[in-house]
């Protein structure tokens, strides 16, 4: 502990010194360019703007929390918003990069997939099933693993994100299963946001290259088209694992087995009130960590995830008090895993999954008696293919061939009742039915009190659930490493939360305290009787904590954000801290325009405290610093950015899940990216 503390203090000092130096430098450059005279009063600047320019200024509003547009202070949850300009400013490469910059969220990465944690929950073996990921309201979690893909395997290029709305706390009362700890709603760009051709190329450490080509246009208000294609390829790096350090296993070096590749496509069109959207990605990754007893240092252990969807939406405002939305969707998921098992003679195991579904959703919003805003909806999904296979490719011995189908439906009702001008009651309830489980009802209630114009106090109560997915229920590999558990029950959560949001001058302040109680949490455990991995309902888990965030905008358009989360997620029976659950999280951002809107610097600081590993040891906390320099409009239509990730080259790792020999999976050291985007 003492040693770890020391390392932390040292890297913290280094980080502070470095950031001070950079800040000093930027100020110096700024003042060198513009002198020390005071800027004119911002309000008189506002008065000088034409109406056309005023119409371009942004004001924050939120849609996801209650499925209709609200001001953030009236949303029934604690909400964060990341916009496309934040993505550019801080050089975020993936949705995972975006999420880990947020208060209370943390990420793990096993060099194949990214996993997210919130409220102290990210048990190893959880495939991001407890957060619902939406693109423009369309569910992205697949129907086998229910995974929210957030790394390079996320279907949408982050350059096509208009904004990301992150809502903490359960939202099953609106969205059903998986909306357990929160929702991430990704709002996509429209043709008019691009309004020309855009070509983008980037190059980064470890032979990483990405290209993107996007076309977007709005035609006379009736029609809007966006078409985009992205291609990514990374050779990856040589990685050392001390667990394999012997002459027979290349002295622990995994060479050339960290490669990754994806191609993704996106279409977003609108004609009058109809919106057709489609996405497709196929992503391939070689696994360097030799999980599930596979041969170390072999490129023959790899996975390919292919995901696609189509979503046809019709939305109509019937009159000022009534609106109607209906949609029809189709989802496709295919996973192809190749594992070279090391028990001579070599066995090539094929692990495959197919998931197909279609569904429909209807939603109706209406204001009644002036003070009630009713949102109601119905959702149906037919999972007409849920298939898992596992077989020996060399001998065609089949270990698993499980083909199923299922359906689910849900119906919900929510009322936003404006009791007084400064007091809103937001209450909702949803009932879901699943083919394999009994029905489930989830209520949620929020009381939002605004004693002053710039103060909001929210009292939130919510219940949510998650049904076990096909993988947790029916997956086994012939009882070599993992067995099935068809008796799993849905897990359930009850949450209590208080949020205070305060605006003061140029500050935005939020403070939140929460208590979460989970029953029947589904966790990957090892059965001591046979040593096999199996998913079980661990009895009861609870989490409590506080979050605090201050955002401020200063003179010269400098923006700062800092947040701190203290969380304690424990097993209620043993009282022990959960695995992969850091107690402390600190995130900070600093944005500095160096030359007006032409050159800027964006710093990101992320600290995640030490986390317990499956073996009861600790993966030390790490303070990661990123710096992005962004240049826009120096040449018309050209945007250049250069980013250094993990500037201090801090060595750190995340707790590994049960299929790994490693206790901790080490993460990337210092790396770079250069990106050029040209629109014409």
């Amino acid at each position: 502990m003492g040693v770890r503390q020391n390392i932390f203090n040292k890297s913290l000092k280094k980080a502070i010194l470095l950031s001070c130096f950079s800040v000093f430098l930027t100020f110096f450059i700024y003042h060198f360019c513009y002198g020390w005279e005071k800027e004119e009063d911002p309000l008189s600047k506002l008065a000088g703007l034409k109406l056309e320019d005023l119409m371009k200024l942004e004001v924050e509003t939120i849609y996801s929390a209650s499925k209709f547009i609200q001001k953030t202070t009236e949303a029934p949850s604690y909400v964060s918003i990341i916009t496309s300009s934040d993505i550019k400013r801080y050089g975020y490469r993936t949705l995972a990069d975006i999420i880990k910059s947020l208060s209370g969220f943390y990420i793990s990465h096993d060099r194949n997939y990214h996993y997210l944690g919130v409220r102290g929950f990210s048990p190893p073996g959880d495939y991001n099933t407890r957060v619902l990921l939406l693109i423009d309201g369309h569910r992205i979690n697949d129907n086998i693993y229910n995974t929210a893909y957030i790394g390079n395997e996320f279907i949408l290029d982050v350059d096509l994100i208009e904004r990301v709305e992150v809502i903490r706390g359960p939202s099953s009362s609106i969205y059903g299963s998986n909306a357990f700890f929160g929702i991430i709603n990704v709002i996509t760009k429209k043709g008019k946001d691009i309004n020309k051709m855009e070509i983008s190329g980037e190059a980064g450490s470890f032979d990483t290259y990405k290209q993107r080509l996007t076309f977007g246009k709005e035609f006379n208000k009736d029609m809007d088209i966006l078409l985009s294609a992205s291609f990514f390829k990374s050779h990856g790096q040589s990685l050392y694992y001390k667990e394999f350090d012997n002459p027979a296993q290349n002295n622990g070096w995994a060479d050339g087995v960290d490669g990754e590749k994806y191609n993704s496509f996106f279409l977003n069109t609108r004609y009058l009130d109809f919106n057709l959207q489609g996405g497709f990605i196929t992503r391939e990754k070689i696994i360097p960590t030799a999980p599930w007893g596979t041969e170390f240092n072999s490129p023959l252990t790899n996975t390919t995830d292919t995901y696609g969807y189509l979503n046809l939406k019709f939305k109509k405002d019937i009159n000022k008090d009534t609106s109607f939305m209906s949609r029809l969707f189709y989802n496709y998921y295919y996973y192809d895993g190749n594992y070279l098992i090391n028990k001579p003679p070599f066995v090539r195991v094929k692990d495959q999954t197919w998931g197909k579904s279609w569904g429909t959703e209807l939603q109706y919003n209406r204001r009644v008696f002036e003070k009630h805003l009713i949102t109601s909806g119905f959702e149906y999904q037919d999972n007409f293919l849920q298939k898992q296979r596992n077989y020996d490719e060399s001998s065609y011995v089949s270990y698993l061939n499980d083909r199923r189908n299922s359906y689910q439906w849900g119906i919900f009702l929510q009322d936003e009742f404006t009791i007084f001008d400064n007091l809103i009651l937001n209450a909702g309830i949803r009932h879901d039915y699943f083919k394999f489980f009994h029905g489930n009802t989830s209520p949620r209630a929020a009381l939002i009190y605004k004693p002053l114009e710039k103060t909001a106090l929210k009292f939130l109560y919510g219940e949510a659930f998650r049904v076990p997915n096909m993988y947790e229920l029916y997956y086994n590999d012939g009882n070599i490493t993992q067995k099935t558990n068809p008796d799993l029950d849905p897990e359930k959560i009850k949450t209590y939360e208080i949020v205070l949001e305060q605006y003061y001058k140029n500050f935005q302040l939020s403070l939140s305290g929460f208590y979460y109680k989970v029953k029947n949490l589904i966790t990957l455990t090892t059965d001591v009787s046979d040593g096999l991995l199996v998913y079980r309902n661990i009895d009861e888990v609870e989490a409590r904590g506080i979050e605090f965030e201050v955002y401020a905008k200063w003179q010269y358009n400098i923006e700062t954000k800092i947040n701190y989360t203290f969380q304690q997620a424990t097993d209620k029976i043993t009282g022990r801290l959960l695995v992969n659950s850091p107690k402390h999280l600190v995130k900070s951002n600093l944005f500095i325009p160096i030359i007006k809107d032409k050159l800027s610097g964006g710093f990101g600081f992320e600290y995640s405290g030490s986390r317990k590993t499956l073996g009861g040891r600790y993966a030390g906390g790490a303070f990661i610093t990123n710096l992005n320099i962004l240049s826009q409009n120096i040449l018309k239509g050209l945007e250049i950015s250069g980013t250094i990730y993990n500037i201090l080259d801090k060595k750190y790792g995340f707790p590994a899940s049960g299929e790994h020999i490693q206790q901790v999976i080490e993460q990337d050291g210092r790396c770079f990216r250069l990106k050029l985007t040209y629109s014409f």
Partner: protein, 166 residues
């Protein structure tokens, strides 16, 4: 670090709040309205914006006090009740009045007052310009019939940017 914090602490607010932007809109509207002939008679050299109701930050409309529009001085004042309404050239009605809005519009009758609101539905109920938010940006809609009734002419530049309610 010292220099850094020192700079920040002295820094002034430069954040444009929702209502700062809305206030700028309203100040701009004063430049694009033609009141009926003879409206500014008897040496009247001000455009008076009256503010009625609540539901917005208190000092929102003081930001542009004393600036000029069309050669007149732009002045703002808070209105406690509607009996002094004839001293107003423009009237901003807060969202607190959403249940009394029809009554207020009836009280104004055909007086040459540019009414402005920022509440859903105000436009349909006869408020001439109603601000709303779309894509996180402040936009506005114009009720042309209400403007005609009040005898006000709105410049085409303004109409071009607005969503029109007929």
């Amino acid at each position: 670090m010292f220099l850094f914090s020192n700079q920040l602490c002295r820094a002034e607010s430069q954040k444009f709040g929702e209502y700062e932007v809305k206030a700028a809109f309203i100040y701009n509207f004063a430049k694009f309205v033609t009141w009926p002939e003879g409206h500014f008679r008897g040496g009247k050299n001000t455009i008076d914006l009256c503010v009625y109701g609540s539901g917005f930050p208190e000092h929102t409309f003081d930001y542009f006090y004393g600036k000029t529009a069309q050669g007149y001085t732009f002045k703002t004042k808070k209105l406690k009740n509607l009996s002094y309404i004839n001293e107003c050239d423009m009237l901003f009605i807060g969202s607190s009045e959403r249940y009394q809005i029809t009554q207020i519009i009836n009280t104004l009758k055909d007086m040459p007052i540019l009414t402005v609101g920022d509440t859903e539905g105000f436009g349909q109920k006869g408020v001439i310009i109603n601000l709303y938010i779309e894509d996180n940006k402040v936009k506005f809609e114009i009720n042309i019939n209400a403007a005609k009734k009040a005898g006000l002419t709105l410049s085409s530049q303004l109409l071009k940017l607005a969503r029109i309610i007929k």
